[in-house]
């Protein structure tokens, strides 16, 4: 790797070890594989992460290769699990297996044929919708499942993951200084309303 490790980590030459470590952690969070799981750009994120790890290695001469940082929610394993549904065991396990192999048609048909809409039904419907790209329905259905069974850890975890993207954005936005109370007094100035104000340099 020929690039400047200080530049890769975004720190000045002569930065303290604490500064380097802090910058490194931020970048690991930024390119973390959990964040890009299922994302078509995951390979690019992995490249960036590798670059960051190598740079950190070079500057600290320590072993950074094993540092993986905080995970964003649980890595989304499979949905097929050892759930005891009693009478509906076969049905729901079939749906879970279908979801795991992205067989949306089978999952959908099986759910349609299940007349009783309990928490699990809403949960699996929500997962199906979300996987099909219907974000609003996905989140709404999983929320319904959570309302019906609030202590279910799986529902909590998946609901959190579905909202994750938005949560990450909100956190970054807050870090940039977003003020939820609304815009400041500066925005009430006349020059904020006009595209190109008449005052001097601007």
């Amino acid at each position: 790797m020929v690039n400047d490790p200080y530049e890769i980590l975004g720190v000045k030459h002569g930065a303290s070890e604490a500064e380097i470590k802090s910058a490194y952690r931020e970048l690991v969070k930024k390119y973390h594989p959990d964040k890009y799981q299922g994302n078509p750009l995951a390979d690019l994120a992995e490249e960036k992460l590798q670059e960051v790890n190598e740079a950190y290695d070079m500057l600290t001469k320590g072993s950074a290769a094993n540092y993986s940082g905080p995970a964003y929610g649980s890595a989304g394993g499979g949905y097929a699990s050892q759930r005891d549904y009693g009478a509906k065991a076969k049905t729901y396990n079939a749906v879970r297996a279908a979801l795991d192999r992205n067989d949306f048609y089978t999952a959908e048909q099986t759910l349609i044929n299940e007349a009783d809409h309990d928490a699990e039904w809403f949960f699996l419907s929500g997962v199906l919708s979300f996987k099909k790209g219907f974000i609003a329905d996905g989140i709404a259905n999983v929320k319904q499942a959570l309302d019906m069974d609030p202590t279910n850890p799986e529902y909590q975890s998946i609901y959190q993951q579905m909202n994750n993207s938005g949560s990450i954005f909100r956190n970054s936005s807050n870090a940039q200084g977003y003020d939820q109370k609304g815009q400041s007094a500066a925005d009430m100035l006349a020059c904020s309303m006009m595209p190109l104000c008449c005052c001097t340099p601007c």
Partner: protein, 288 residues
């Protein structure tokens, strides 16, 4: 669909505002030079942002010079020079602008003058000649979108996906940044989806009152605005999250402060305003 990509003005440094306006004025001049004076009035900060965004991937410094302006003739204004991203943004403006014009005419909007239409068509042909594949891909995606809008499909995301495809091409086909094409396409994709849904939400109340089509308004549906907004909020924030994931993978060489401002503050501000009903259309205020 314009007016949604804005800065959080109060958080911009004064020099950043100068640069941003330099791109705006630069784009205006480029349109005048390449497409004639009439079409300069279609200029928007949204397209100026796209020019700045694409130019940020190049190392060359912004060359900003003071120039006279026909519209603001009191003082010379800073204008960006010699920037391929401005030429590209002007071309894309003509392609998207003409498609938008066709859409309005198709919807029966009589206020669209055929005088502008003539200029737009000529401009479109010129731009499409320079970007053949982009033009036809955009046309194809929009046709799919219009078809979905006339069907009884209730899902906003399906329609948003098609507009996402449009913006994916517009961002991804910028030749000087071909090395980051995949990421640019992903960024454009989610930005496009965000624009589509934000626009639909912003128009919801007015469209319902005037019995006009709105992608969020289902047949026989008279849901109150708040209810629609609460469903849309998760979708919009999801799109914002995804586009920032792509943004994180881009190699931004300059003007990152301005872009961060727009993405993390401006887009969020616009999202919250539209969700709470204080969007640009209701207040009638023009935003930057």
């Amino acid at each position: 669909m314009l007016g949604y990509i804005v800065t959080e003005r109060s958080e911009l440094k004064v020099r950043e505002l100068g640069t941003y306006n330099g791109y705006y004025c630069g784009l205006c001049k480029t349109i005048g030079r390449n497409y004639g004076q009439v079409l300069r009035k279609g200029l928007s900060y949204d397209m100026a942002f796209m020019a700045l965004f694409l130019a940020s991937l190049s190392e060359s410094d912004d060359d900003i010079r003071l120039e006279h302006c026909a519209m603001h003739h009191i003082k010379k204004r800073p204008v960006l020079y010699e920037e391929p991203a401005l030429v590209y943004a002007a071309d894309m403006m003509m392609i998207l602008g003409y498609e938008n014009f066709l859409d309005d005419v198709r919807d029966g909007d009589k206020s669209k003058s055929s005088f502008t239409g003539k200029f737009l068509r000529k401009a479109y042909n010129q731009a499409a000649a320079a970007h053949g594949e982009t033009g036809s891909a955009v046309r194809h995606s929009l046709e799919e979108l219009y078809r979905r809008e006339t069907e009884a499909d209730r899902k906003i995301e399906t329609k948003a996906d098609y507009f996402g495809q449009v913006m994916a091409r517009v961002f991804g086909d910028y030749a000087p940044a071909a090395g980051q094409k995949r990421v640019l396409e992903d960024f454009g994709d989610y930005l496009g989806r965000w624009i589509y849904v934000t626009d639909a939400m912003d128009d919801y109340v007015e469209d319902a009152a005037k019995h006009r089509y709105n992608p969020l308004n289902h047949e026989d549906d008279s849901r109150p605005r708040e209810m629609v907004a609460s469903g849309v909020e998760a979708v919009l924030y999801y799109y914002l999250g995804e586009l920032t994931k792509a943004y994180d993978l881009l190699d931004i060489k300059k003007n990152k402060g301005i872009i961060d401002n727009v993405i993390y503050l401006g887009l969020r501000r616009k999202t919250d305003e539209v969700l709470s009903g204080k969007g640009t259309k209701e207040n009638g205020k023009r935003s930057i």
